[in-house]
């Protein structure tokens, strides 16, 4: 798995937040790799640790209260967690870009769109204002904004939500980063705009060869643009596999639950959508066994006592569930 193609390698990452009600475990021993040009989706409900994982890679976890308790993050062969803040500044925006959920608030309201793009170019690419302006306009054109010359000197409030997200993408990709992290990039947008933005990201990824981590709670958008999927629950990876493996042959009851709650075109009309009962556990005091077992239809005695480790199903497919242990036999 660890060939030269690997752009990002997260190992045993643990992140916790100090709160008044004790230490909340945000991310518990998360491990995954990302190859060059690959699009990886991290799926989970809110609080599953997917955004925290993404922000840890950018080293954007607000500290205090957040802190990385263990693990390593190798990015382009360098350990991100060992970098000083100054060294990180040189990496952020240049080698990794990030897009956030709410394009309405993620852009500075008192700065022109153009300036917000040139800022990152001047900082990382040693461009002068003129070069940066040309490049920024090129980026605006690339993300599909009409009349980019005019758009350059406009303010965010003159943009629609979808256009702002396009501008965010332009900022994130301006320096041609190796890695693009998109944290729920379409959640705040209308459905039709969602499709456009995803289309754009997919297109740019193919053209620029950028590796993408797409953070989302919506398995529906994953199918369109990702090669591989990681499913997270309560701070842990519960299943990992290629898109086909996850969609056609889900192994973990949680993944199955997610898929069952998702409307599909090929599903018979009378088949109901089934929600997953219950709520995720309190992460200030996580259960010792499987975190999902309270909500699981297949819960067994062992699930409450010990959590399973990742059990491999194929070279690319693995899940964290006792149902797949070699000692388990269907009775």
């Amino acid at each position: 798995m660890n060939d030269n193609d690997t752009v990002l390698s997260v190992k045993e990452l643990q992140v916790a937040f100090r709160t008044r009600s004790g230490e909340v475990q945000g991310v518990r021993n998360v491990t995954f790799d990302l190859k060059k040009g690959e699009a990886l989706a991290i799926v989970g409900e809110s609080g599953s640790g997917k955004s925290v994982t993404a922000q840890s890679i950018m080293r954007l976890i607000p500290s205090p209260p957040g802190m990385v308790k263990g693990g390593t993050i190798q990015f382009n062969g360098q350990n991100i967690l060992k970098k000083s803040e100054k060294e990180m500044e040189a990496i952020r925006g240049k080698e990794m870009g990030m897009i956030f959920q709410d394009p309405m608030t993620s852009l500075n309201p008192t700065m022109t769109i153009g300036r917000q793009i040139t800022e990152v170019l001047i900082k990382h690419q040693n461009m002068d204002k003129k070069q940066a302006r040309l490049r920024a306009i090129e980026m605006l054109r690339l993300v599909g904004l009409p009349s980019p010359d005019q758009r350059f000197s406009q303010y965010p409030h003159e943009f629609s939500g979808g256009m702002r997200q396009r501008a965010m993408i332009a900022i994130a990709l301006a320096c041609d980063p190796t890695l693009l992290i998109a944290d729920e990039p379409t959640t705040a947008l209308d459905v039709t705009i969602q499709a456009q933005i995803l289309e754009l990201m997919k297109d740019l990824q193919e053209r620029l060869g950028t590796s993408i981590i797409l953070i989302t709670h919506d398995l529906g958008i994953v199918a369109d643009m990702c090669d591989r999927v990681i499913v997270m629950y309560a701070g842990k990876v519960v299943e990992e596999g290629t898109k086909d493996e996850i969609f056609k042959n889900p192994k973990h009851p949680y993944t199955r639950g997610l898929l069952r709650s998702l409307p599909r075109l090929d599903q018979p009309k009378d088949e109901p959508l089934i929600p997953i009962d219950g709520t995720p556990p309190n992460m200030a005091n996580p259960p010792i066994g499987c975190a999902f077992c309270d909500r699981c239809d297949f819960a067994m005695k062992i699930c409450t006592e010990v959590d399973s480790k990742m059990i491999t199903h194929s070279e690319t497919h693995a899940s964290r569930c006792w149902l797949h242990h070699s000692s388990y036999r269907e009775e």
Binding site: M300, H325, S326
Partner: protein, 314 residues
Amino acid sequence: MQPAEMNTQDGHIDSAQFARIEKQAKVTEVGVTRSRSAGQEIWYRLRTNHWAMFGLYVLAVVIIMAIIGPLISQYDYYTTNLDATNQAPSSEYWFGTDNLGRDMFSRTWKGAQISLTVGLAAALADLLIGVLMGGIMGYFGGKVDEFLNRFSEVLYAIPYLLVVILVSVVLGSNMWTIVLAMSITGWINMSWIVRGQIMQLKNQEYVLASRSMGAGGFHILLRHLVPNSLGPIIVTVALSVPSAIFAEAFLSFLGLGVQSPAASWGVMINDALSSWKMYPWQLLFPAGMLTITMLAFNIFGDGLRDAFDPKMKV
């Protein structure tokens, strides 16, 4: 992961471990933790804010003393005693005496009565006029709003204290003319807050809903808009009391305060200014009380604002 655990996981596990158990999660219970009402929630947030509660306690003490203070001293606040002028605080005169031999303890608490009454009355007047005007502006909108808004903008252009001074010059000074003078422009802020709140709430779903169900205009205003605007209104009242108290003291400083023998803190401060270097207690008690009361009102008002709008608490 501990090695021991890994071993068990890799090796054979007894089949008893794989016995099915009952699923724990029932149908999702929503909002179990939200049993407190909005009012209780606000009160809880206020009560746990030590700083604000400290302000509240201080205010309670000042108010109680304003009521009973003049009664527990053996001297009243107006009798002059030329044999005992400018006495330092002692067991006889707890806060000392002024240049006419009047008991400072009685006078200070009598001053508290006047200052607090002026402050509360002015805040109340602002509240009534402000809510009425703001309600009219916000509810009717259109031409009425435009006219009243212009009108209040014009009034607002004049510094508050200057209006108070002008009107006091004309009307003469006693407690009630001062309150009247203050409420001439004091209501404007309140009316804008109410207006803004109503404008904002007017188009919200639940108001539209009750309107579509045929509820009358005034009914909607009372039933929905006022309770929802309550937070900012209460906070504005709480913070306008100290500014009215200050305005009264300011008037007294200019010699436009209440007339002798009655004394507000401002009048006492003004009386003390000429000779406080020799008799510092004459300044210390009224000025100290004024400062403490303004401070208490301000921190209590801040606490109220945080309690009503926890988003603003940072």
